[in-house]
Subunit: 218 residues, 4 copies
């Protein structure tokens, strides 16, 4: 374990050492609750996206049909963010299949990811309510880019010095996982200037690159 | 496993192969998190339906009783959608009892179902706020029909070439499951034209056919 | 198993029989997902109660303190409903510890309970916004009474002819559980007329009887 | 077990004794559902915080950028409360790793904690909407202080007479855990007067002491 990277263990080492050693054998328990909490946050973030789809307050029975069609940017934002969050869950799922130990740093890096995942419904709401506005598109690109960076962060930590992975994961496999974990944040970072000057182009890039991306990285 | 149907495995085969082979033996783990996420989305979709039951803003202490009775279409839509989502959960529950392997295509087909499940609170809100309006009833019928179609999609995939089922599930059983999985989407597709011309008849069909349907299919 | 009480099994018996028989041995799996979904709905219903605590729209920095104190009925309703839902969870937890088999009727009786649990945030919101109004208090009493009745319903079913309990649960224990399961709905039914004529008395009864009730029944 | 501290067991002892004795061996089951419910409430509380980040109703496409920057207190409150709730989850996670038995008092003390955890989105919303207002800062400090006190309460109970811990947890370790569990509530109690007279100083204390606190206690 990485003693330097885990400040919790520094001072009260005397206190937690006993149960921690035992946990090494029942590590699944500790990781189990991390996954339960993470799955909860992912599931709720996915489902709260629907709260961003609302009809204008002036909608009545007569103009309902027009109102339902008029809010198409909200449907678009819903589908886009659903796919984005689902993608991050798939990466989380595949990475944690290979992780067999946890420590405080991993827990807090995971919370950093969850902080951004739970944040995504807000940029989604802004994008759905202000389609084609540069500020909305830039906010969205930055938010997903930061989420991707924090997703890469826990992966790099777990596969690095901390050595929390299964022993039979090969070096080449780890190198490939690390490289691919950068593709998401880099792609969204590159679309930030596009979003600032041509918001619709950025939105098209996000939704059309997605199926291709599914093939070339995780 | 179905190599053609699983694009994720195409390019980075070298990278993920090792853990995937091991996963075959601990497949329950992988499916366990898929079920945890799915149960989360189902539970939240069920519970968010209550947010669609709201009193008009002009409600005060004096007209509270009338206001509570006046929003009966919202109670109706709540109960209807609760039963609809519960039904999809029961099908999910019974199908995944028989599935022992997962792959990327199954994960994404399951996300397609969850995308529609998480969407249902919106048509429910529209139906509750605009009872008897064709656009609201058509939206509801189309949304449930698409949900049913995506529910059938993962079932057909899992029982087809991908062969993700328990080995002792018989051929006749699979044929019956496949046939019954079509009954939900076909029924709601048939009510789309009814909803367009006689919304109240469609609503009555949905709520009255439900107990009968419970007997004739899953 | 109770064939009459389980309509799902009637027609497609041929189809589901094989896996169901196997499930008897791995019944924990089936019940596990029922509990996961139920815990999700309970947790979300508990947490959504906070959305009922809102400040009036005309609140500004100057009158914030008064506004925070003025909404005390909303804090009261929050605490009351949190305790009520927590109580139903404890009963659910204790009952399902003794249940080792499930069938379709139990699943749907459990959904009936969840339908009412998920509904409780609405009467809570009405009670918090219209304190001292008979209609709000009656709605609340009726809603909790129906929740309690559906909680008793699955308990009576599981301990009755369906025989889903552990074999070593004694007859006297089942009689006592059944009797106690009626105390909640009967108590709230008795407060309905009180709520109609003296709403504050009913609210006092609910909150003060609670700690005593904890001693005399589950 | 602590008979006096567990009122549920008083009267109906005859009824519950049999299954409870058996539960001692499968205690993980009982604790498992407590953790599942708790993780659900923690996950939802974390994710509902995003609902507190909303743009003013008068926001349009032209002033969107200014509006997004202008609501910085809401981002601040979001991050602060996310870290606070995450901290309570980490303490919960570490404490329950050492608990191997449950009883009714532990369940209700845990519900007391969850009642305050689920409440935190409200003070967060008030803090985000009324930054620099003493009433908002005092409400926040009091709410977190009470949450910390209830977090300490279940820890003191479980490590005290009730004796619900693993037998190999040492006396010194328990003393250290008890001492550290007081640091959170005491710190937030001390910031109540600061919040009343210098709200911004209190907010700075909360966010800056956090990383240091991570080193000196759990």
């Amino acid at each position: 374990m990485d003693l330097l990277g885990d400040p919790v263990r520094k001072l009260p080492d005397r206190v937690w050492r006993l149960p921690r050693q035992e946990d090494d054998e029942t590590a699944g328990d500790g990781i189990g609750r991390i996954l339960a909490l993470s799955d909860g946050v992912f599931a709720i973030a996915l489902t709260l996206l629907i709260l961003d789809i609302v009809l204008p307050v002036k909608t009545n029975d007569d103009n309902l049909e027009q109102a339902l069609l008029h809010i198409w940017p909200r449907y678009f934002a819903y589908v886009l963010s659903f796919l984005v969050i689902a993608r991050f869950w798939v990466i989380h799922h595949q990475t944690f299949r290979l992780i067999i130990r946890d420590n405080a740093t991993l827990v807090w890096l995971n919370f950093l990811l969850l902080l951004f995942i739970a944040f995504l419904p807000f940029p989604t709401a802004v994008l759905g309510a202000h389609e084609g506005v540069p500020a909305a598109a830039v906010l969205y690109a930055v938010a997903v880019c930061l989420t991707g960076a924090s997703s890469a962060a826990y992966l790099w930590y777990a596969t690095g010095r901390a050595n929390l992975m299964q022993p039979d994961v090969r070096r080449g496999q780890i190198r490939a996982m690390r490289a691919r974990s950068m593709s998401g944040p880099v792609f969204f970072a590159l679309t930030v200037p596009v979003a600032a000057f041509a918001p619709y182009v950025a939105e098209a890039l996000w939704i059309f690159v997605f199926p291709l991306a599914r093939m070339s990285f995780v």
